[in-house]
């Protein structure tokens, strides 16, 4: 292993006492604090903030219109053009989910259903939003392009039960999504 010997900088007697440097540091800190106090924080203008710091005042100020398309908010299920639920409950998302937030109960599509040829769909699909870490693994692993992370990030509730998104809620958030791969087309 190559050893590199680094020479420590030689300090003068004044520097060795350190007080000069510490004092200078405190002046810099104070100056910055003062600038911040009078509303001249760096980047305050660009971020549409109050000026007192670069923090946005969240409920009053929002950044929604600048959210990118790939923003990873709450996960949701989608339906295709023909309003078929795309999820076939293969449970890969449940498997991959790092915090084990997803719980699926698979179910069979009855033979008299319009989409009986798909055979399988979730009977229940629960995502515990207290557990969800918004990693997007479920979206990545989904072979049917049925689950997406939507830009909604305001997920609140006053009970634990309320924070578990069930199937209806997931479809409500996800809505219809067109132009995706459709494996269950007419040829199938």
């Amino acid at each position: 292993m190559a050893t590199i010997k680094v020479q420590r900088p030689k300090l003068s007697a004044g520097e060795k006492i350190y007080f000069g440097a510490i004092f200078k540091g405190m002046v810099i800190t104070l100056r910055h604090a003062f600038r911040s106090l009078v509303g001249k924080s760096v980047g305050a203008k660009e971020l549409n903030s109050t000026g007192v710091g670069i923090t946005m005042q969240y409920p009053e100020q929002k950044w929604d219109e600048e959210l990118p398309e790939y923003y990873r908010g709450t996960p949701a299920l989608v339906t295709n053009e023909e309003d078929r639920e795309k999820c076939v409950s293969c449970q890969l998302c449940e498997f991959i989910c790092p915090p084990k937030a997803i719980k699926i109960t698979p179910g069979e599509i009855p033979t008299d259903d319009e989409w009986a040829k798909v055979e399988k769909r979730p009977k229940a699909f629960d995502i515990d939003m207290i557990r969800c870490i918004y990693c997007g693994m479920c979206e990545e692993v989904c072979p049917e392009e049925a689950i997406f992370l939507r830009p909604d990030y305001v997920v609140t509730g006053t009970t634990r039960k309320e924070m578990v998104h069930d199937k209806d809620r997931l479809y409500e958030i996800g809505g219809k999504r067109v132009g995706l791969v459709n494996k269950w087309n007419d040829l199938k």
Binding site: V88, S89, C90, Q91, L92, E94, F95, P106, G107, E108, T111, A116, K117, V118, E119, K120, P143, E144, K183, L187, K188
Partner: protein, 585 residues
């Protein structure tokens, strides 16, 4: 190998050394090994720890060689010209002349000085081609297919496939989701025509209802007209199906297999004690599949036994100890229930008490039951006989899983002998207190409801609510067969081990704990057992048939501890097929 053979003047050739033991020398991927004469090439490769991918081959079935997945390159020494002696190299082997075309490894047997290549360009290209053909009409509905995760087509297409499809045309449409039997669902699009199911129904189940129809790419598996796949062994076809063409109706869309935890255990629905694997997620059993044990159940299990696990998970399970107070059962603590039970039993005269154990109990529980009977001073100890008719395959006539064990532990030939005496004693009112372990007396035991009412003190353990429990003064909840570690002795005298797959519901304790606590109350000298193993060890110490055995020594496949002279019909049939060379076995 005969390294220590006496030194002879002329050095023996490897082929002669092998021939002395009925073996042949085979070179597999460059290494010479000795395998028994007549071994299939695929089995020889297994001995050499080389996996040859295959679909249609199954050691318990005949080998039609129709999937072509097991193609390997074979080579033999060149045939010497007339008058020419075979040439042997320095290592004593002849040079191998490799064949230009691959052969199937499943139906060909090995020969002396044969060479097998399970890899290499030719073999790999061949497999790639076979995989591509197999996948041409395969629908790729893995996300909804129950086989996904344990599908050989998935596994081999990853290992040996080319990774992408060149097939631009429309795939052939075949019937999907076909109801062909009570327990089996057929999806013809997924079928790769290996014919395992057809051969199983023909050769093992002896109910040939399946067959191929159509030709070429339109070939599909169907049931013969007018027949249905309603055989009691039909679910085995779903097990051996390498793809998801045949799936279990019971397990259909219940859970993906990769979530399931496997527990090796045994079946307790009859005296055969078929070896099984219980698949659980959390505390729920999702399915039971057979586990290969060539001395018990080969690789199969009847459907009726396989599906019996649902009974364990139904709503009528007892979950807490109860005692009768003012004509109503109230839940109490374990300690209180056991105290109450012991109180009512301990004050009786020995001839007023009887113990009805169960042939469904494990050896350890029967051992404790016998100790309880001894502590009470009574010799009225019995199990309830449960006879049925053998199906001539795996289901034995004795539907108790542990009649043999009960006989060994009670030390009598017929452990059911005292039942009549007890029944009579109860009905005449001579017997005032009765302990019943896991038996509903109104069923096979033949008791009458009014007889039970005559008892002053009835203590029962049950897994499920039933009329006997309803009549009891003390009811203790029992753990089901998948909820405890235990040993059983099957009809052939084989000691087998069941393992715990799930946890008993509610406040249910293991049966050995309940029995041990009860025994401790009745016999102050008896120390509470510290674990299941200690109960078994005590049994092994006292009973010479079990001497030397421990939980660990039993192993996954069990050990024979006694001779009963009973054989399992299915194994006899299999033996015949093996002797005639139809199957590998």
């Amino acid at each position: 190998m005969s390294e220590n053979a006496p030194a002879v003047e002329e050095k023996k050739l490897p082929k002669d050394l092998a021939a002395e033991n009925g073996m042949v020398n085979v070179q597999i991927d460059g290494h010479w090994i000795q395998v028994p004469r007549g071994t299939r090439m695929i089995e020889a490769a297994k001995i050499a720890e080389k996996e040859i991918p295959h679909y249609c081959y199954h050691p318990k079935l005949s080998s039609p060689g129709n999937c072509r997945m097991c193609l390997v390159q074979m080579g033999m020494p060149p045939r010497p010209a007339p008058g020419e002696d075979p040439k042997y190299g320095e290592d004593g082997y002849q040079e191998i002349g490799w064949m230009p075309r691959p052969v199937i490894a499943c139906a060909n047997t090995v020969a002396e000085n044969m060479g097998i290549r399970t890899g290499g360009e030719l073999v790999e290209k061949t497999r790639e081609g076979v995989m591509e053909f197999l996948l041409i009409n395969h629908p790729l509905d893995c996300p909804i297919c129950d086989q996904a995760g344990e599908c050989k087509l998935q596994e081999f297409s990853v290992e040996h496939g080319r990774g992408e499809s060149r097939f631009k045309e429309t795939k052939i449409k075949k019937p999907k989701n076909v109801d062909i039997g009570q327990n089996i669902r057929l999806d013809d699009e997924r079928c790769i025509m290996c014919s395992r199911c057809i051969r199983f129904m023909d050769e093992v189940a002896e109910d040939p209802v399946l067959g191929f129809s159509q030709r070429g790419t339109h070939t599909s598996v169907t049931v013969h007209p007018g027949h249905r796949l309603d055989n009691n062994y039909s679910l085995n076809t779903a097990d051996i199906c390498p793809v998801g063409a045949l799936t279990s109706n019971d397990f259909r869309f219940q859970m993906r297999v990769w979530f399931l935890k496997e527990t090796k255990t045994i079946d307790v629905n009859c005296g055969t004690g078929a070896n099984t694997v219980v698949w659980t997620r959390g505390n729920e059993i999702f399915r039971v599949t057979p586990r290969q044990n060539d001395d018990v159940n080969s690789a199969w299990i009847p459907d009726s036994h396989r599906l019996s696990f649902h009974e364990l998970q139904n709503d009528s399970r007892l979950t807490a100890p109860m005692i009768l107070k003012d004509g109503k059962h109230v839940e109490v603590s374990n300690l209180e229930a056991i105290n109450k039970a012991a109180e009512g039993l301990g004050m009786r005269q020995p001839n007023e008490v009887a113990v009805i154990a169960s042939g469904r109990q494990s050896n350890e529980e029967l051992y404790l039951a016998k100790k309880i009977a001894t502590a009470l001073g009574t010799d009225l100890l019995t199990i309830v006989p449960r006879q049925g008719e053998s199906d001539g395959k795996l289901i034995s006539a004795d539907r108790n899983p542990n009649t043999t064990g009960a006989g060994l532990i009670f030390g009598i030939d017929d452990p059911t002998a005292k039942l009549d005496a007890i029944r009579e004693g109860v009905s005449t009112g001579r017997i005032k207190a009765l302990i019943v372990f896991n038996e509903n007396l109104l069923d096979e035991a033949g008791f009458k409801q009014e007889d039970l009412a005559k008892l002053e003190h009835l203590v029962t353990t049950h897994t499920h609510a039933n009329p006997t429990a309803a009549a009891a003064q003390v009811v203790l909840p029992g753990a089901g067969w998948a909820e405890k570690r235990a040993t059983y002795v099957n009809v052939t005298g084989r000691l087998q081990r069941a393992n715990q797959a799930t946890i008993a519901p509610g406040g249910t304790r293991d049966d050995w704990e309940t029995l041990g606590a009860l025994l401790n109350k009745l016999d102050k000298d008896y120390q509470l057992p510290s674990s299941m193993d200690s109960v078994f060890n005590a049994l092994a110490k006292e009973n010479e048939t079990f001497t030397g055995q421990t939980f660990g020594s039993i192993g996954d496949l069990g050990v024979v501890i006694t001779e009963t002279g009973v054989t399992i019909p299915l194994l006899d049939q299999e033996k015949k097929r093996k002797e005639s060379g139809i199957i590998v076995g």
